[in-house]
Symmetry: C2
Subunit: 345 residues, 2 copies
């Protein structure tokens, strides 16, 4: 519909630019793209001296353009938050070759006047995945068709995105009609669309979540990437807006074994899992009184492999729900329970 606000959109295929990066920990976005959406990644562009190598063909800008690449995606988080000066020429050349530029840097692409002028001249877009689209409405709270699953957490950064991506793949493999819905910058690059919830003006938070998971066919599942935690005193509001707008039918609780305190907020304890689920359910029931939990997903990397089965079994008993480590065990038990809980969807 012309003029209607939608989520951010990124055109595939991508050329992933990792510059002359030396440290793989800064190339998480690049690795994530290759891991989750290899079909979207035509190749990687590395400058001389680059120590990082993705599992994707090395392509020059010219080769990528000839193969029909639509977007140059900055796949690293450079130290300092901005683009290193000597990468600018690469970006400008990509623009001249007709590629959109996609980045999630602290310094916006649109703050670079040279990029803006070149993009206008060549009719391409500068997509800052940290910048929400304009015109997001206030949430209307109205029920819409289709099913929604949301990953929520005892804390931030404990696997909500990973779990949602793994669930989406496993649901599709099980023949379910499922789409990953991105609410953060890396997720948006992977999905090729979405809204960075944490950057939305607070009046429009639940409205943004409604846009991210729009009406769909009755059998379709949106698998919505969670944000923050209701137990995080800095970010809980983001979490609540996402819950209210996404109106989840099903939630998966994400947790990290051994976590005692909310990371970065000393003195804030990580809640007991059943208390935590109770809090999320009360919040979710405002916009979907049928919301329920269907499983628990735990990062057990802090445990010995030998301890893991007992630990997961203990949580399953405590919560009455299937409990997995999504990396070590996979999320199939969660999908089976989801399918059994919602037999018509």
């Amino acid at each position: 519909m012309p003029g209607k606000t939608s989520t951010l959109r990124i055109k595939a295929p991508y050329l992933v630019f990792i510059g002359d990066n030396e440290d793989p920990t800064y190339a998480k976005t690049g690795y994530g793209l290759v891991q989750w959406v290899p079909d979207k990644v035509a190749g990687q562009l590395r400058l001389p001296g680059c120590k990082v190598k993705l599992d994707a063909p090395d392509l020059t800008l010219q080769e990528a353009a000839a193969q029909g690449v639509k977007s140059l995606v900055i796949g690293v988080a450079p130290v300092g938050g901005g683009l290193p000066e000597h990468w600018n020429a690469v970006v400008l050349e990509a623009i001249e070759l007709g590629m959109d530029i996609v980045a999630g840097l602290h310094t916006r692409l649109s703050e670079n006047a040279e990029f803006v002028a070149a993009a206008r001249e060549h009719g391409v877009s500068l997509v800052d995945v940290r910048v929400p689209p304009k015109g997001i409405p206030v949430g209307n709270g109205q029920k819409r068709a289709g099913m929604r699953l949301l990953t929520v957490g005892t804390d931030c950064a404990i696997g909500k995105k990973y779990t949602a991506l793994a669930l989406t793949n496993a649901m599709q493999a099980a023949g379910m009609n499922a789409t990953f819905r991105a609410t953060g910058q890396t997720g948006i690059m992977i999905a090729g669309e979405g809204i960075p919830m944490d950057a939305v003006i607070s009046d429009f938070l639940s409205g943004a979540a409604e846009l991210v998971s729009p009406a769909n066919t009755p059998d379709h599942w949106d698998v919505v990437e969670g944000q923050g935690s209701l137990y995080n005193p800095g970010y809980a509001a983001v979490t609540l807006g996402l819950i209210h707008g996404s109106q989840p039918d099903a939630m998966i609780l994400c947790h990290k074994a051994g976590l005692k305190e909310i990371a970065g907020w000393p003195g804030y304890p990580v809640p007991a899992l059943n208390d935590c689920m109770d809090t999320y359910l009360r919040a979710a029931w405002l916009t979907n009184p049928a919301a329920k939990f269907v499983g628990v997903s735990v990062n057990t990397s802090s445990l010995d492999a030998a301890e893991r089965p007992d630990y997961l079994a203990r949580i399953a008993e405590e919560t009455g729900l299937p409990c997995v480590d999504p990396i070590a065990v996979g999320v199939e038990p969660l999908v089976e329970h989801l399918a059994a809980t919602f037999p018509k969807n």
Copy 2:
């Protein structure tokens, strides 16, 4: 502290500009200023044809400047959201006379290039009270000195600001050390400072609430203007961020007699008062485990005066708390209960 982010600041005394307004309902800000902070209002400026009259002296711009007026405050909400074209000359003249311009319009003052240039030339500020200050930090959740009271509601627009203002006056009259803390545009004009919470980027909501109610002496009460409602599917996130950041020791529940549905969100019922208080307490306990309710404030304008005493008595019995209509009864019973509940403050 230089460079440290603070709330918005408005310099008094004010000249309240009500233009050639014909409808008093659009001059609510002007009336509110005269009602709550008459000492800040040096006078009003009315154009020919203006049907609205505040209880304040008519002053020309020159007279106001001669009396030391520091800010021209736009005290009306013009139809359309922007400033009528023919008011611009008044604004420009006020700028030339050295006054800051203060407005809470949909169209920002800073979008008018003429205003921006004139303000720069004459060294005055354009204060858009809908625009939060830059540099708001993420909430840290740390306990700070001083006491805080927050008004919360079953719905939006049911007297949270009025109750907070009336409480502040009554607390001061009772010899308590109390300051009204503004979180919305009209409140900011009244207080002369504050942050419009609904316009804050969601990651920084609780941080903004921390800035609004900073550390203070142990006996001091911040009386924080509430926003939205945890039962509003559009705005609940704003409410949660404000609760977490303001860390209320005491809360007052605001309600409107006869309200059945959240206004503007058909199908969303107004909660039972005890359920509602339970929800607010659970939210508040994250950052202040000692938070408690100290009273109920109800707009009973929908009732006959004869019904009011029974109605208020019924709510008092139901909740176990003093219950007043702040306009018809006054808030003194709430202040007495607050003082008795916190005898050292």
